[in-house]
């Protein structure tokens, strides 16, 4: 497959390291906890008109990293995330999680948090979080224990018996994160999870997410159209071009952790934001 080598070459060129399960930054990283995307193309047709949505997408994410994907509207970043979740099959290419190809949704390997919390309104917070385990036939006591652990992680243990309509937007999204984490998958995918929230809640949720991430030690792939949000949260930002979406660059965010809001006022933050903005605009 010549395409494969071509993509591999482009990766080497860009990152100066051969393709491997273990990312260059984490020589000791657990090979089971990485995401690889190889040679991914995606075209779809509507009413006989074919559109190329994604082209030559190849990247990998090391265990425990926080990677954001940004790009102009319609660049296919959400489609890409749906592919990583196994919800959409790419026309070409391979997605592997923990070294094994992912061809259909597997919540034990990949947890997903959607833009709308998408909780089931007839279930309490705890039962929403238990739901993935319930589908797999996990017994009641263990389900409850796991759900309570996950709810405690997102700081909602006191709201376990609340119904979704009794919770605020931010709280619902935290329940949704707990649901994504309840099966302890190495990777959590997030599709513009805070886009529907107001500005203040969005900032609070960002900090909350970083706290959860540091505690749970997950790999997070985060799709957003907010550049500041992406820079503030991430170790690295993958910048996609307009349609067909191609990888323009992978920007390492060298701001120290823990992150704090006043970093947004630092020149380095502005510099990174400026650089990414120019790439997208071009």
């Amino acid at each position: 497959m010549p395409r494969m080598t071509e993509a591999a070459a482009s990766i080497r060129k860009r990152h100066g390291s051969p393709m491997s399960l273990v990312g260059p930054d984490h020589p000791a990283a657990d090979a089971g906890k990485t995401l690889e995307v190889r040679d991914l193309d995606h075209t779809y047709s509507v009413n006989g008109k074919t559109t190329q949505a994604l082209k030559d997408i190849a990247f990998d994410v090391s265990a425990g990293r926080f990677l954001s994907i940004v790009g102009p509207s319609g660049c296919g970043k959400s489609s890409l995330l749906m592919m990583l979740a196994g919800l959409l099959t790419p026309s070409e290419g391979v997605i592997a999680v923990g070294g094994r190809p992912l061809t259909k949704p597997d919540p034990t390997r990949v947890g997903v948090v959607f833009q709308d919390a998408s909780l089931f309104p007839w279930l309490t917070a705890r039962r929403n979080v238990e739901f993935p385990l319930f589908l797999r036939g996990v017994d009641k006591a263990l389900r409850r224990e796991k759900a309570e652990e996950a709810l405690a992680l997102v700081g909602l243990e006191r709201f376990a018996d609340s119904l979704p309509h009794e919770l605020s937007g931010g709280m619902k999204q935290r329940v949704s994160i707990a649901r994504g984490l309840v099966q302890d998958p190495p990777i959590l995918l997030m599709d513009e999870p805070f886009a529907a929230l107001d500005e203040q809640t969005r900032i609070t949720m960002g900090d909350e997410l970083l706290r959860i991430w540091e505690k749970a030690r997950k790999t997070i792939v985060f799709v957003t159209h907010g550049l500041s949000e992406a820079i503030y949260l991430s170790d690295e930002v993958l910048v996609l071009s307009g349609r067909p979406g191609r990888i323009l660059d992978r920007v390492v965010i060298d701001l120290p952790r823990p992150r704090s809001l006043d970093m947004m006022a630092q020149p380095r933050f502005a510099e990174l934001r400026e650089a990414i903005w120019h790439m997208i605009k071009a």
């Binding site: 959607f114 998408s118 589908l135």
Partner: protein, 250 residues
């Protein structure tokens, strides 16, 4: 608090209605032979309720009603889901269902009698016929009320088709289906009573028809009162459950 207000409201409306009913004939506002006072009708109902015939009639009608309902509801819901979920079936059958729905069902009653006679199954068949279209139409909107994002969550959790039907479709559809149950029961009950009035030797509808022809207004109104309480009771019970899961609709 809201429930208490509602109960008070119902009580007040009922009291005003009964007071007017009692007063109108007694004060000579209406002809007492056409509208006997409430207390007389209530007394007649009490006397009827003490007879075995009354309960036999009630039992028969309720059995017909529930049998028809037990057939029409699952049948309508199943057909509704199948039609709504298939593009082709939607295209072909939806207009037909809407057309048939708009035709008054009562004009078909003589045909049912010609085919099925005037016994139990004719009433049930006509009840099903009166009900199944409204159930199908409500089911269409019930299926539409299932949210795409919730289905996507189920897919992302690798749920099987059966799991999606049981744990996403069904609970999502419940509020709208309850509405279907409520409205369908009105259609169903109407169909059964009409069939009994038109051609039957027994049942509540038959009794009302016979009393009407015999000018036995007190008995007739007593039965009307009884049927009304039954129908309102069922309707309100389902409405109560509907209100409980109102927030499911988002």
């Amino acid at each position: 608090m809201a429930t208490r207000d509602a109960v008070l409201g119902y009580g007040a409306a009922g009291a005003v209605f009964l007071a007017l009913w009692e007063a109108a004939p007694r004060l000579g506002w209406v002809d007492e032979r056409l509208l006997p006072p409430f207390s007389d009708v209530a007394a007649a109902l009490g006397a009827m309720a003490a007879t075995a015939t009354f309960w036999q009639q009630v039992q028969l009608t309720l059995l017909e009603t529930l049998t028809a309902f037990a057939i029409a509801l699952p049948l309508g819901a199943l057909l509704g889901v199948l039609v709504q979920e298939s593009r082709l079936a939607s295209l072909i059958f939806k207009p037909l269902i809407f057309f048939v729905f708009s035709i008054p069902k009562s004009i078909f009653l003589p045909i049912f009698i010609l085919i099925l006679g005037i016994a139990f199954w004719q009433k049930v068949a006509f009840g099903v016929f009166s009900t199944v279209f409204i159930v199908m139409m409500t089911t269409f909107s019930a299926v539409e009320s299932v949210r795409e994002d919730q289905l996507r969550v189920a897919r992302s959790l690798d749920a099987s088709t059966m799991q999606k039907i049981l744990f996403v479709y069904l609970p999502s559809m419940t509020p709208v289906l309850l509405e279907a149950v409520r409205v369908a029961m009105i259609f169903n009950f109407t169909g059964i009573l009409l069939a009994e009035m038109y051609a039957s030797r027994e049942g509540i509808g038959n009794a009302i028809g016979v009393w009407g022809l015999g000018f036995q207004i007190k008995e007739l109104l007593a039965m009307v009162l009884f049927v009304s309480v039954l129908a309102i009771g069922f309707n309100e019970a389902i409405r109560y459950v509907e209100a409980k899961c109102e927030h499911w609709r988002n």
